[in-house]
């Protein structure tokens, strides 16, 4: 797209957003919508500034961030391990994969009582649920990525008498990187969503709890302020990961 076109697109997006916010502002100010349900965007914006300067948001963010980073790390390890196992032992893959995909497509988050029983209320339950959801796309993509390596690369490695470790490190893994990275992006995104969702449901802490708390206390500006921050953080992370993925794909093709 030409530069002038892109500017037009961005301007159009900004205009649409402003129009939408303007309508919301009008609706609430004129009391067409209850102030317990919606807050005027101007008030939300002010509350967001207030939150940035206060402590509540930052402490909540810290809790969520730590839970997410832990969940992401464990998802990566668990996902990679099982991904490689699935790749090497096709029987295990055939046996377990349908089961895992069932978990993935159903609203697994509703199984949170199971995790509460196992880990009690608090971060461990949050992290474990997030790991279940986050590791599955990684698992699948690692095994698919490795299986999908161009046969010619494998043949090349064989013609050079490459041992299994070198083959894995210098041929299979680099070749599978684009697919694996997509798995990471999906896995981490789901992990973040799961962390906040479980925090919300179980009221254990972090940004999810903040949202829940403010909802119950009718603090509508606070509610939307917290939601806005969550959306910002989630989209920022997704964008960063997507950009990196695009760059990887560009290089690989």
């Amino acid at each position: 797209m030409a530069v002038s076109e892109r500017i037009k697109v961005k301007a159009g997006q900004a205009a649409a957003l402003l129009l939408f916010l303007g309508v919301l502002e009008w609706l609430v100010r004129k009391r067409f919508v209850s102030v317990l349900v919606l807050s005027p965007p101007s008030a939300v914006a002010m509350k967001m500034l207030e939150d940035l300067q206060g402590r509540e948001l930052w402490t909540s963010l810290q809790v969520t961030a730590m839970e997410f980073l832990l969940a992401a790390l464990i998802s990566f390890v668990v996902g990679s391990f099982f991904g490689i196992v699935f790749f090497r032992f096709r029987i295990i893959r055939s046996a377990l994969e349908p089961l895992l995909l069932a978990f993935y497509s159903a609203p697994t988050i509703l199984l949170y009582p199971v995790f509460l029983t196992l880990f009690g209320l608090g971060s461990p339950a949050v992290v474990s649920m997030a790991v279940v959801l986050g590791s599955i796309p990684i698992m699948v993509n690692v095994s698919v990525g490795l299986a999908g390596v161009e046969p010619i690369f494998v043949k090349l490695g064989r013609s050079l008498n490459a041992g299994p470790w070198l083959m894995f490190r210098k041929v299979m893994l680099p070749a599978a990187t684009p697919t694996i990275f997509t798995g990471l992006r999906l896995g981490f995104t789901y992990a973040l969503v799961a962390v906040i969702a479980v925090e919300f449901i179980t009221f254990s802490g972090g940004l999810g709890k903040l949202v829940s708390w403010r909802y119950f206390l009718f603090d509508t500006e606070g509610l939307f302020s917290a939601i806005a921050f969550i959306i910002l953080i989630a989209s920022l992370m997704n964008r960063l990961l997507q950009r990196t993925e695009d760059r990887i794909r560009k290089r690989w093709t």
């Binding site: 317990l36 209320l121 829940s212 206390l217």
Partner: protein, 319 residues
């Protein structure tokens, strides 16, 4: 000739259909927001609907059940319902403090009917045994929240017990059975289901600590009140009739209750036995009770300063 008859029959039929039905068959649908269905706060409305008291005054009552006190109030302020039948006063006041023109128009339940239960085989014999343990409440700012805080304070235990948000009675009991919390809140009559099965034991009865507490009230938006004074008056009258019925006809009340909640009659009997006399009120809530609710709302962080009671109540329509 035949065509003539068909035409005449059709004409007569049309005329009959266009005649308006008799006035008594014309009911006005009134939507009422109530707390979760198993809550006994809702009994007057079940009885009133079943015994036909609302229909007598031309009201077809349509209940909507909400999970928490806050959502009951939201049901009213968003005009999803016309009024609320069992709204916690503190929730009403928080809404009013945000500028919503909602008012308490009558008391509903004038005692605290919530209890806290533990596993029947647990070692806890009295509240003192909960030192260092976890106790559940429904959601922040709710009656269960402020009540447990008040009870613990009375016992001087507010620093020794961890209170945990655990949701509905059902969710609280799941948490207790799984050992996630040690005591969870519950409510009559459903709690007697657990008690009679020998699974749960009531450890704390809120009304032992706090008397004269308006657990829930009837509330409506100012606009609805202004536009429908007769409807409001009639509704409260029918409700009063239902309350009279409850105290005078225990057997019939119990069967209505059992049917509505799909619980066995034995359980209902236990619950009914424990029902304090005069728990359902037709009068206005006591001012101390309302001020107490306001203090709770402030304490929970829902509002900054008390409101003028006159501005958030409207007791003109009490029977």
């Amino acid at each position: 000739m035949k065509k003539c008859w068909i035409f005449l029959t059709a004409l007569v039929g049309l005329l009959t259909l266009s005649v308006p039905p008799p006035a008594s068959a014309q009911l006005r649908t009134v939507k009422i927001a109530l707390t979760s269905q198993e809550n006994m706060d809702n009994l007057p409305y079940f009885v009133g609907m079943k015994a036909g008291f609302f229909k007598e005054v031309g009201i077809n009552l349509e209940p909507s059940y909400f999970r928490g006190g806050g959502d009951v109030v939201r049901g009213v302020t968003t005009s999803a319902t016309d009024l609320a039948g069992s709204a916690a006063p503190s929730a009403v006041f928080i809404a009013a403090s945000k500028g919503e023109k909602i008012k308490v128009i009558s008391s509903n339940v004038g005692q605290l009917l919530i209890v806290w239960v533990v596993k029947a085989n647990s070692p806890y014999k009295s509240i003192k045994d909960l030192k260092g343990k976890k106790v559940g409440f429904s959601s922040p700012g709710s009656v269960t929240h402020t009540t447990i805080q008040a009870i613990l304070k009375t016992e001087g235990m507010e620093k020794d017990v961890e209170i945990v948000r655990a949701g509905t009675p059902g969710e609280n009991w799941t948490a207790v059975s799984n050992g996630v919390i040690d005591a969870g809140w519950h409510v009559s009559p459903a709690v007697y289901n657990l008690v009679s099965k020998g699974e749960a034991r009531i450890l704390i009865t809120a009304s032992n600590y706090i008397k004269d507490y308006t657990q829930s009230s009837v509330a409506a938006m100012e606009e609805v009140i202004e536009k429908n004074p007769d409807m409001i008056r009639n509704l409260l009258k029918a409700r009063a009739k239902a309350i009279k019925f409850i105290s005078e006809n225990p057997d019939k009340t119990m069967s209505i209750w059992a049917e509505e909640l799909k619980l066995p009659i034995e359980i209902i009997r236990l619950a009914y036995k424990d029902l304090p006399k005069g728990v359902y009120e037709t009068a206005s809530p006591k001012p101390e009770s309302l001020l107490g609710a306001m203090r709770e709302a402030i304490g929970a962080g829902g509002m900054k300063e008390p409101l003028d009671l006159k501005k958030v109540t409207d007791f003109r329509f009490l029977p």
